[in-house]
């Protein structure tokens, strides 16, 4: 019998797994995907918000401000990337200026840091701000991270501290047996005392497996983005927010930790929870909106577009509480923005619930830090020499765009959570994330994965099961003729 079973290895599930790994309990995390953070965690603006935006008195307001502070702790403990950009919130007209006054008051109530800045200073700091802007306030605690890596860092650290991470386990049924649960997946079954639902866009589906009346319905909200090449780094150094509207925070300009700039998102409620396709209409809409806040946007340096799905619900606030129908089942529902920021604080809240159920003791030896692996591209000359002396594969460049060596790839494959697909390697090493988008390195990555895991190349997947890039050897006989 597992003490706590977490469904979903996104940023929330990963943060919770790591938080619970500090205690003497058994924790298992299930995810239907083959890697952490493949849902909403992977595709969003990557911003650690200050907390100026959520309505006063809500969980969103409270957890956002707390979560923002906890990211500084995670940076020290887990070596997560954190870019302390700060943000500008910009208004264009009298109506927006009025909203800005409301937001000033809200920031104060929420405990978010907001500072005044003159237009002149703002334009000096960010020459590419639109000149139609009439008023700006500064949000110095706004930061940017790489959300997927945060989820990975949290889960790797959780695994090092004894948590079991089961990949490719899609939950198909949950059977309550008078206080405990049997959680059935497509291939296995897990018995657990407490089940925590961190299933993102599928949270209501999971909840529906135990509750007659699910207290929330996920209304998937798609956000499309442009990614501008990192060689345009410095185009914008702060996160630029327009004045928010009912539809959300609007189209932002966001510098990213690896140097890219995100332009987006759209905000469209859709039916399909996996409908993360990009659309010509959505991308055009972004261009129209973005020009209100920024000028000279280098769209010709777009390296990618993508879309993510936010697990929004009808209610404004996060739905975080124990099931009213089935005890020992806990909901983390509707974790849309500021979900990334709030995740470490949500983890604390869920932890307190677990501890309220049963007084698990703190572990005597919890490893709070994560081994830092410096990628070749970030090494000093001395570090490069030492790394090469120890492993000649540091001399073999696999991805020229992002300067990834074979050793970087091999290290990723043998981490606590193995990178065993092309995308998993890309996310961990950036091999294939540059301007040629894998055109040069992909065959090398496939070869290395196949070699390191002793599997045929036709079994190396692009990301999930059954996404192999190579379908057959050419000299195999055809059986269909």
């Amino acid at each position: 019998m597992i003490d706590v079973l977490i469904i979903g290895a996104g940023i929330t599930g990963s943060a919770l797994a790591r938080e619970l790994s500090k205690y003497e309990m058994t924790v298992t995390v299930l995810d239907k995907e083959m890697d952490v953070g493949n849902g909403a965690t992977m595709a969003n603006s990557a911003i650690i918000h200050s907390g100026h935006d959520p309505k006063e008195g809500t969980l969103k307001a409270k957890l956002n401000v707390r979560g923002n502070a906890l990211y500084d702790v995670l940076e020290k403990e887990l070596n997560i990337p954190l870019l302390k950009t700060g943000a500008f919130l910009v208004a264009h007209n009298d109506e927006e200026k009025a909203t800005l006054r409301t937001l000033r008051a809200r920031a104060k109530t929420n405990g978010a840091v907001m500072e005044e800045i003159s237009l002149e200073e703002a334009f000096k700091a960010e020459p590419n701000l639109s000149r139609d802007i009439q008023e700006v306030v500064s949000l110095p605690t706004t930061k940017v991270t790489f959300p997927w890596e945060v989820a990975l860092a949290l889960m790797e650290n959780a695994v090092v501290n004894g948590v079991t991470f089961e990949r490719g386990q899609e939950v198909i049924a949950i059977h309550p047996n008078g206080g405990t649960f049997t959680v059935e997946t497509t291939t296995d079954a897990f018995d657990a005392k407490y089940v925590i639902n961190a299933a993102g866009v599928f949270a209501d589906t999971i909840a529906g497996m135990v509750e007659t009346h699910v207290p929330y319905t996920i209304k998937p909200r798609k956000g499309e983005y442009f990614v501008i090449d990192r060689r345009e780094k410095g185009y914008m150094n702060h996160v630029i927010y327009p004045i928010p509207s009912k539809a959300g925070k609007g189209v932002l300009v966001t510098p990213q930790v690896h140097g890219e700039t995100l332009i987006g998102p759209t905000s469209l409620t859709i039916e399909d929870k996996t409908g993360n396709n990009t659309t010509a209409g959505g991308l055009n809409w972004i261009k129209n909106e973005a020009k209100k806040i920024a000028q000279n946007i280098p769209y010709h340096k777009t390296i990618r577009t993508f879309a993510g799905i936010r697990p929004s619900i009808e209610q404004y606030d996060f739905y975080i509480q124990e099931s009213t129908e089935v005890p020992n089942f806990y909901h983390l529902g509707g974790i849309d923005s500021p979900g990334l920021t709030s995740a470490p604080a949500i983890a604390e809240m869920a932890r307190d619930w677990v501890l309220s159920k049963e007084a698990f003791a703190l572990k005597t030896h919890f490893t709070a830090t994560r081994e830092k692996i410096t990628p070749f591209r970030s090494m000093s000359d001395d570090e490069k020499r030492a790394a090469f002396q120890a492993d000649a594969r540091y001399g073999k460049l696999i991805c020229k765009c992002e300067r990834v060596t074979e050793a970087d790839v091999v290290n990723a494959i043998h981490r606590p959570i193995p990178a065993d697909s092309v995308k998993a390697v890309k996310k961990r090493t950036r091999a294939g994330a540059g301007i040629c988008q894998g055109g040069y390195c992909q065959h090398n990555v496939i070869n290395i994965i196949a070699r390191e895991l002793s599997i045929p190349k036709t079994e190396v997947n692009y990301y999930n099961k059954h996404t192999n890039i190579l379908v057959r050897e050419t000299k195999e006989a055809r059986h269909d003729v």
Partner: protein, 416 residues
Amino acid sequence: MMYDIIIIGGGAAGLSAAKEAYDPALKILVIEREARLGGILRQCIHNGFGIHKFNLELTGPEYAEKTAEAIEDLDIDVLLKTTVTDIIKFKTFDLTVMNETDGEFHVEAKSVIIASGCYEKTRSQILLPGDRPAGILTAGSAQRYLNLDGYMVGKKVFILGSGDIGLIMARRMTLEGAEVLGVAELMPYSNGLTRNIAQCLDDYDIPLYLSHTITDIIGKERLEKIVIQEVDPHFTPIEGTEKTFEVDTLLLSVGLVPDIQMFESLKFAISPITKGAIVDQHLQTSVEGLFACGNALHVHDLVDWVSEESERAGQYAKAYVTGTLHAHEAKDVIPGDHVRYVLPQKLDFSGQDESTRFSLRSTIKADKGTFKIMQGDTLIMHKKMRHIAPAEMEHLIVPKDKWVSDEPVTISLEVS
């Protein structure tokens, strides 16, 4: 180690440049990232290479071998499995390179020739909408997997873009047992060589959908289907023209881009059209002593022209290090009506002691037309041509005594 000339890239361009740069008195180094010389030709196992250069119809590997043999007995250093990661220039060029034998180290040169080839545009650069499943690759990647590694990437294939690699792969995948359902091309004309349309599509009854593009991609894990639509003259998809193809593989042949980002630290001038360096008639970039040739300079349709251009780059680099080539102020060569680009983009009249060879591409397809080279109002030269197409690079040679002044030059295409 100080070299006179370092050539980056050991494909057709780099090898041709090396051959002509060779002089027993000069120290020359060719740097190649793969384990063998030959570059992209090694995976181009079809024939049709060398008709102009060798008067033979060779396969890619044969052409590569012939080109490599030409430098085999010359005293030229070659570093294989070695990648250049950075270049800076003080008085000389300092190249950061790395390989598995020596790790990261530096080599220096008085002159550098960039012959690093090109890369393929991907789905991202053309902003293809839809899902992002497995099964979407560039045509060149599929060619590599098939011809070098011996693996097929799919069974039912659609191809977007009628670039030559896409056309070649339509035939190659068919021969290897896949079903190729069609090729869609955004433009109203093919972007590949006419001979490839005939030999790779027509001969295999593979339909070519001109003025069509992909407007949706469907598939959660593996590609399941694609939707194409006809486009109007402004490239806007026309409603009601949707056609769906159930395929597991989509190959993209939507353009090539000079692969020179590793060298951007040198800050040489780059053409927004070709995405390669801006050069004068000596193939010298805006950085003195830095030359560029082949697909790293502008994308060629025939390797024969790559060799021709690169041989000249080798000769000029040799002239530069031996002190017989001096850069002076150069005037612009301006693409006029119906001309997309002209190379060289700069002409240095003071050093003009030989005829000038221009390479250019039109913006339109025309049965016949006249290319006109003007200096101000003076017609310097005109040349009538037939079967003009953006996909086919044209060449114009102007004898040195034709120029009337040192004014900028305009080259345009007049279609009657």
